[in-house]
């Protein structure tokens, strides 16, 4: 290969970088020629116009990116073709359909579980694994289809060759539509908005009479356990009207609002609950989760709420639970270290100072 110029311009160096993005075999065959031709072209533009206009680079980058993608896909297709043919023996469509259905199922289950606010970590991992598996199969199917398309139509423009092959369209359909469909399917099957979905271990008893705030609070818990969210909220509201200084009522109404996906009201109630009882763990936990997963997403605020819980002496089990959510908040924020730490360590704070 021809050695690079002694004092390469920044333009040459940038173009050399682009050439390195081509597959190795392509670089070996054409890399040196491309650099030589680019130098000629670059020099002529500078000579004609006195400078290299921005449009030149738009044109170069647009052209190269399209062809780099094309050549990389072609290389991938070439590598995949034999393996796919021997592995699936022409049954790629069946594999694609099964994988697509599996992904939809996994997505629906996972999203449903996430939306219903239980056990976040495992469904997310399952979803991730399912999507990676689907991606691998799509790449495999796409590779075979690309190989066929590219071989059968050397003269067509690359993009025309790609989109003219039905298998590619099917694969792209699977890659884009199925996860989206799974998400909206999950939404359709997510907890109904007219009934609570809480798992009731010890159902509350109804209030004997409805006179005091405590009576309405008890009745609200009873309605909640019966799955009557709207009535529970009405009872909690009546309890608040009679006594606006009970943090527990605000928290329970907030949790019921959360199950109904009415997060703005939930956040307002949680703020009230925490204002009344700053060390109220359940309300801090709920607000942290709200910020972490559901509404007005703000992982710093979620971490601040979890930090406040960590500062309260609760016993090991509670802190372990907080650790998991904290790790997620840190992960979403881009701090990965807490995910590596052990659950019984002092607790990941993402190097954030604990906020009061």
């Amino acid at each position: 290969m021809r050695p690079p110029p002694k004092n390469p311009s920044s333009g040459y160096r940038f173009y050399a970088f682009l050439v390195k993005l081509y597959p190795p075999q392509y670089q070996q065959a054409f890399g040196a020629q491309m650099l030589r031709t680019f130098q000629d072209y670059y020099a002529s533009v500078r000579q004609e116009q006195g400078r290299v206009p921005l449009g030149f680079w738009f044109s170069v980058i647009g052209d190269e990116v399209a062809w780099i993608a094309h050549e990389q896909l072609a290389a991938l297709a070439g590598r995949r073709e034999g393996m796919i043919r021997s592995s699936f023996n022409g049954k790629q469509w069946l594999v694609g359909v099964i994988a697509g259905l599996a992904l939809v199922a996994a997505a629906m289950i996972s999203y449903s579980v996430i939306l219903s606010r239980f056990a976040v970590l495992i469904p997310l991992i399952l979803l991730l694994v399912a999507m990676l598996g689907m991606l691998a199969i799509i790449i495999a199917v796409l590779g075979k289809a690309l190989a066929t398309a590219l071989k059968s139509n050397h003269f067509a423009r690359p993009l025309e060759a790609l989109v003219s092959h039905w298998r590619i369209e099917v694969a792209l359909f699977g890659a884009i539509i199925l996860p989206v469909g799974g998400y909206f399917g999950a939404l359709a099957f997510s907890p109904p908005t007219e009934a609570c979905m809480g798992k009731v271990i010890a159902p509350s008893a109804p209030a004997a009479q409805l006179v005091t705030a405590q009576d309405y609070f008890k009745q609200g818990d009873y309605e909640y356990d019966q799955g009557n969210c709207s009535q529970a909220i009405a009872d909690y509201t009546q309890a608040i009207n009679l006594n606006s200084q009970d943090a527990q009522v605000y928290n329970n109404r907030a949790y019921t609002y959360m199950l109904l996906h009415q997060y703005d009201q939930a956040l307002s109630d949680l703020n009230n609950a925490i204002a009344i009882r700053p060390d109220y763990v359940n309300a801090l936990m709920n607000r942290g989760d709200l910020y972490n997963y559901y509404y007005a997403i703000d992982h710093n605020r979620a971490i601040a709420d979890y930090d406040r819980i960590m500062a309260i002496d609760l016993g090991n089990q509670q802190h372990t639970q907080v650790n998991g959510h904290m790790a997620f908040a840190c992960f979403f924020r881009g701090d990965f270290q807490p995910l590596m730490s052990q659950p019984d360590e002092t607790g990941p704070d993402c190097q954030l100072p604990s906020q009061p």
Binding site: R2, Y15, Y26, A29, F30, Q33, M34, R36, T37, F38, D40, Y41, S44, S59, V60, G62, D63, E64, A66, W67, I68, H70, E71, N153, H154, F155, A156, R157, P158
Partner: protein
Amino acid sequence: MKPSSDPIPLTPAVFYILLALADGDKHGYAIMKQVRQDSKGKLKMGNGTLYGSIKRMLADGLIAEAGDRLDPTLDGERRRYYTLTDGGRQAFKTEMQRYLDVAALAQERQITSRSSVLLGL
């Protein structure tokens, strides 16, 4: 690989590269300049398109490498030249004939005047 005999319409890039090489061997940048000149600036072929097309045309036997040599109009470095093969010349003729057939058909149906068709070629 033997030249393709399928009468598939050539892309503009392939067609203009064949046209550029029809009057003699050329290296990459010379092809690029010739294409721009032949298309009256309408087809600005980038390096990626040029060498992507060259790769496929080599594979299909439309063109062949004609060795490295100096270009007297440029600096003293050697450049790789490309030349038309018989298959490439035949593909070019076939494509030209297709254009002429289409032009004749348009003329026959009075879609456009003969002079404008010829000027368009």
